[in-house]
Amino acid sequence: MVTTSEIAVESAIEELADKQPFMAKLKEFMRKQPLGAAGLLIVLVMIFASIFAPVLTPYDPEANAFEFMLTAPNMSFLLGTDQFGRDILTRIIYGAQTALFVGFTAAFIGATVGLVLGVASAFFGGKFDLIFQRIMDVFMAFPLIILALAVVSIFGTGIQNVIIAITIPFIPRCARVVRSSALAIREIPYIDAARANGFSNARIILRHMVPNVMAPFLIMITAFVGQAILLEASLSYLGLGVQEPVPAWGLMLQGGAEEYVESAPWVAIWPGVAISLAVFGFNLFGDSVRDMLDPKLRSQ
């Protein structure tokens, strides 16, 4: 039995199939979304840096070298060293690993849990939906950083707990958006058809509704990665996130940024540039993904 959704999915797959070579497509994307292409480039550079970190730099990101303490940028330390004599460029390159790991994990888990909860809430409707929405309201009433701070103070610091702290505030935000799309889908006849076929609720939710709310889900994920990187940096900066000696950009600013801002400004400048560039790249890319996926904006 072929449902409308399957037809839609098939035609979408056909569209995606290689009709034009990859390079031509890339050119098309760059022409239509120059900002998005710039963002993608930044993201790719970041991924490259984090994979090839050990090859790219001769230094150890964690070992102290007090003889080189607070060296100004020169030929052997391109961006200078910090108060422990560690090369800043090395720590920034390794920091990309931390940022990407926290960013992708938190965004993916948060958005996926939100996706399932949001669709389920729309599908069941009625009292379940009402109560669920009130619970989401409660979570949404907390500013992101305050909820994350509360979670960190319970579970303690460290990278896994930071991920938990960042994931939890994401869930209601994604659930809310996905629910509103799923509400519209619930009214389409193929859901009735699936019910009439006697499919289980879980099957209807996962096989028939979830694939049709992929656009808002993907938009949320790309938006979340940037936010997660920023939140991790903020938490680490407050001393509540990733702990020394793990190389993380926010942590690099916590150690000495204000203290050395006058005597050794490179300690304060470069990690911030890294954070800003990374989040900037993900946001640019996420924006153009949204423009492409949102039919309302596509027609412009």
């Binding site: 009130r134 103070s153 319970i154 940096a233 903020s234 900066y237």
Partner: protein
């Protein structure tokens, strides 16, 4: 309409209760408490007896539900209790810092509006030109740059530029002075944190202005206005901008409530003794009564702002009718 307002007000109660339950029990999950930090903080050995006495004094030995009731019933009559750390009334501690945080929040919102509306308008009118791309990149950068780092960079910039121009590095005043006592000292201290937070918050509003204006510019009545030969400036200012301000007002309103959260980090950088700093301190000291009181204040402000924004919405757009 009145019925709607009444219904919304009633709906606030479960949200507030939920927030109170959530924050109260979340805090109780944290291992250790204020007594241990207070007494063992100096690194000295303390015996269990002293900790027990301290707990008894602060009411921490009471059953959970009793503690919760004291907290929530107090909150309903605006009695927030005493700080477990300093022992002073929480309302006093908050009032002490409220003025500073409120002023930074208002100044940051003003900065955001002053950046967002002109830039968003230009970006929409010149859609897909170099100016548009520049404005969009500028506003996305606003979300990407961490405000604490922007703060550090502003301080660095001030230091370097004053050093170059006057020979002596200028430092912002450390003590907070109310604006009516010494406006210059007050503004020179608070303008930089306001700019750092305001730039960040302008980003969302700029993008909202752009997309709302783009939508309105495609309306029939804009075409009519163009067809009758109206000046483009008039079309934008009188016809388009006014009608696209609705979502912008919403965003600015909601952002205002969230400024409180944004201030947490900024106050740390600029060393301002405001509500954000109080919050971080209360978390590190495990001063439960202070943390939960502050969270409830933020949540209440947020819920009320949302409510007012919704009412404002109906007022700005008479077509919207709440039933």
């Amino acid at each position: 309409m009145y019925q709607y307002i009444f219904k919304r007000l009633l709906l606030m109660i479960p949200t507030l209760l939920g927030a109170a339950v959530l924050i109260f029990f979340l805090l109780r999950l944290i291992p250790g408490d204020v007594c241990e930090i207070k007494l063992a903080g100096a690194g000295l050995y303390v015996d269990q007896e002293q900790i027990d006495i301290c707990r008894k004094d602060l009411g921490l030995d009471q059953p959970m539900l009793a503690q919760f009731w004291t907290f929530f019933s107090g909150f309903l009559v605006f009695d927030l209790g005493k700080s477990l750390w300093t022992g002073r009334e929480i309302t006093y501690e908050i009032a002490l810092r409220f003025e500073l945080s409120l002023q930074v929040a208002i100044m940051a919102t003003l900065t955001a509006v002053l950046i967002a509306i002109p830039l968003g308008t230009i970006s929409a009118v010149k859609q897909n030109t170099a100016i548009d791309y520049f404005v969009r990149a500028f506003s996305i950068a606003g979300i990407a740059i961490p405000s604490f780092w922007l703060g550090i960079m502003i301080i660095l910039g001030l230091l370097i530029s004053t050093q170059a121009w006057f020979g002596v590095p200028w430092m912002p005043p450390i003590e907070y002075v109310p604006i009516w006592v010494d406006p210059i000292a007050n503004l020179s201290q608070l303008i930089w944190p306001a700019v750092a937070t305001g730039y960040r918050y302008s980003a969302v509003a700029t993008r909202m202005t752009r997309s709302a204006l783009l939508e309105v510019l495609r309306e029939d009545y804009i075409r009519t206005a163009r067809a009758k030969g109206l000046m483009e400036k008039l079309i934008i200012n009188r016809h388009a901008l006014k009608n696209s301000m609705l979502p912008v007002v919403t965003v600015i309103g909601i952002e205002f409530a969230f400024l409180m959260g944004g201030l947490v980090v900024t106050e740390q950088v600029f060393n301002l003794n405001g509500l954000g700093k109080l919050f971080v301190e209360s978390v590190t000291n495990q001063d439960f009564s202070m943390t939960q009181a502050l969270v409830m204040v933020v949540v209440t402000v947020f819920i009320f702002t949302n409510f007012i924004v919704d009412i404002l919405y109906a007022w700005l757009d008479p077509r919207i009718r709440y039933a």
